[in-house]
Subunit: 300 residues, 2 copies
């Protein structure tokens, strides 16, 4: 299971109490932080998410509303004498900026940061249970989306059955992988008699900031949860295109074409105080849409 908590859902300028982009994806073992706009460390405190459990941070691009809160978070982790290593996946220039800021403060962090520059599409990280890929999206500057997939889980062994067939423990791993068992006498016992299927692995795609781009469809096909920005209402599609952003209708169109289970929209422009129209416009095209409201937790 994955649990996604929204920390910030506003574009560029913070407005109407809405914060710049940041999200937290929790797995059983880890917390992943996705983008880190100014004030993210305050939002983490507000929603009682433990900074110390963040193992990986992913930064989509170098617009400030997606990373200006990072240096403060890294520094605070150090002031709290963190020792666990941290993995930071981000555009190459971010390392230079962080290094310069640490140097200016004459500070050495108390923990090791493994900086992984985003260079090409593909798998960028693997934990025991999750595989993370990055993919390009189209924005005014280089920008990356992230795809989190649970790794296919082993089948559950039926303890009573394996005992009754006297199957040796040394064969359990093969059973979990789905292999049939062959007895000494040569009888085949089908895997389905000995195991039950694992729960289906789930997936989450985060598309960061992007213009309407149908080439996304192939990359995110069939994910359980899709976050796609919707900076503007649909009547502003010219402005959206001009600024390499999307509208409600465009986000919903991508969700529909990709056959995802659920769509979350966010990155709302500061010109909108109320968000009701965002939801209704997207739902006209893709019913399973929700607003990425701050503090909400979406279970996948």
């Amino acid at each position: 299971m994955l649990a996604l908590t929204i920390l910030g859902n506003n574009s560029a300028i913070p407005a109407f109490g809405r914060n710049p982009t940041s999200q937290v994806l929790q797995t059983q073992d880890d917390i992943f932080l996705i983008d880190c706009g100014e004030g993210t460390q305050l939002q983490l405190s507000k929603y009682k998410i433990r900074r110390s459990r963040i193992s990986h941070i992913f930064i989509s691009h170098m617009h400030g509303d997606h990373y200006f809160g990072l240096i403060g978070l890294l520094t605070s982790m150090s002031l709290l004498t963190r020792t666990q290593e941290l993995h930071l996946h981000a555009p190459p220039l971010l390392k230079e900026i962080i290094d310069l800021q640490l140097q200016a403060a004459n500070t050495t962090l108390t923990y090791k940061v493994h900086f992984h520059p985003l260079n090409e599409e593909g798998v960028i990280a693997n934990t025991n249970k999750i595989s993370i890929e990055c993919f390009k999206v189209k924005h005014r500057i280089e920008c990356w989306g992230f795809l989190f997939r649970e790794i296919k889980k082993p089948r559950h062994i039926d303890a009573d059955r394996v005992r009754s067939y006297e199957i040796p423990a040394s064969f359990y791993e093969q059973l979990q992988k789905g292999e049939d068992y062959r007895t000494k006498k040569g009888t085949i016992i089908p895997n389905e008699e000995l195991t039950t299927p694992a729960t289906k692995p789930v997936s989450y795609a985060y598309c960061a900031d992007t213009i309407y781009d149908e080439s996304l469809v192939e990359k995110i096909k069939g994910v359980d949860l899709l976050y796609h920005e919707a900076t503007y209402l649909k009547d502003q599609h010219l402005r959206a295109a001009d600024r390499f952003h999307s509208t409600t209708a465009q986000a919903a169109e991508i969700a529909k074409k990709s056959g995802v289970k659920k769509l979350l929209i966010g990155h709302f422009s500061s010109k909108y105080e109320f968000l009701d129209d965002f939801l209704s416009e997207a739902k006209e095209i893709f019913e399973e849409t929700e607003l990425a409201l701050e503090g909400l937790c979406f279970k996948v």
Copy 2:
């Protein structure tokens, strides 16, 4: 008159709803921003201080809790299409960091920033009504205090008197400076008969982050309002010294020795939830002490 609003009063890590250091000093014409910790732009909105009226920003040193909010503020000003020039007084390295961040975002600000690197003590800016000096304080890295002084104001001309003595308008400026008037017949009319004194210029000293340092006394002697950090309660004086910070008692001692009218203390350590003891400890030594609580406005 000067009006000082506290936007943030916490040290290093934001805690208990307290923000990192930032203050706003308002004059009749200008708004000066003093330090700019993460979240300052949100605090400006919260306390309804107009970003557009900020003419000068002063950054004391390169610890993040004093400047991590700056780049977000500068960027937002640009997104709001500011055109007025902005003066930024800060340690030289800050320019490099800002330039790198703007370059990474492929952004050019919509307004001109005049960057004035802090290099030596003395006057660093003058508006029509205020003169601003910087002075060194002792911290773990190079750190500057700022002294804001109203410029001596011209004496008020008594309209009835100058008319009755038939004094020509061309002499008014000299009258405002305090000169006596000599009539054509050679009679001296003393300035005091023609003018009344201007209100006394007031002054504010901001001492940023500093260890207890008596050499400050000469620099801030007799100011109307002094901000001196008090990161710790007095029993923590060893820790304070070790980290180049001060205690309540030390801040009060400096205020007393400097003969200031009022002392504000702030930069409270994140280890303290309640601040009552800060006030009582400082008042034992210097009665005219107040806590720099966020949102409070102190008129000088």
